[in-house]
Assembly symmetry: C2
Homo-oligomer: 94 residues x 2
DNA sequence: ATGTGACTATTAGTCCGTT
DNA sequence: TAACGGACTAATAGTCACA
């Protein structure tokens, strides 16, 4: 993945400064990109894949565009439906 | 990861039979195990790592034992704090 | 130094549309 | 076929006291 790291300037409710990726969005966008690529490779529509996973088409749409923050169980379901290892979804195409 | 796959027998709210890992729990337990291993390798306590990530110690405790289902943003934060690639967290130790 | 239950706030995830 | 929105419900994120 090679996520670029910066120490954030914001503190949480406990006054603790958390390590935070500047590009968490990039991270999510990349994840979505991988999912979309694998889906297309297997010739499925969003609806077909969504049905296979038991998630909603509209939600899958958001995941693929990186505008959702899915839990790991959803990620596991997607990997299963795509027939790939979870790790594949987190690879960067760079 | 090599998750064992079975087609589930349960249907979701739409009456669609979703592909589901029987051992989603195993998946989560393994993830937690990796996190714990990497944390110990870097000599941090749960509290230290939790503070680094900006999450709660009690929540990290649950993640490490596989009794939480964290979102990918939490996973990204943990990987960053541990100084490893996200992919490392999803490796199986088998 | 960690596990656990209980609890609230916030977000994930569903479901209906329209473009 | 997919993006996008609004409104809703289920689940997770996050807090705390105590073992």
């Amino acid at each position: 993945m090679a996520i670029t790291v910066t120490l954030c300037t914001e503190t949480n409710s406990r006054g603790v400064c958390a390590v935070e990726p500047v590009n968490l969005d990039t991270f999510k966008v990349n994840l979505g990109r991988q999912i979309r690529r694998l889906r297309k490779e297997s010739g499925m529509s969003q609806e077909a894949l969504a049905d296979h996973c038991g998630v909603f088409r509209t939600y899958l749409s958001r995941i693929e565009r990186g505008s959702a923050n899915p839990s790991i169980s959803i990620i596991a379901l997607l990997a299963l439906a795509l027939g790939v290892d979870v790790i594949e979804l987190f690879r960067s195409d760079a």
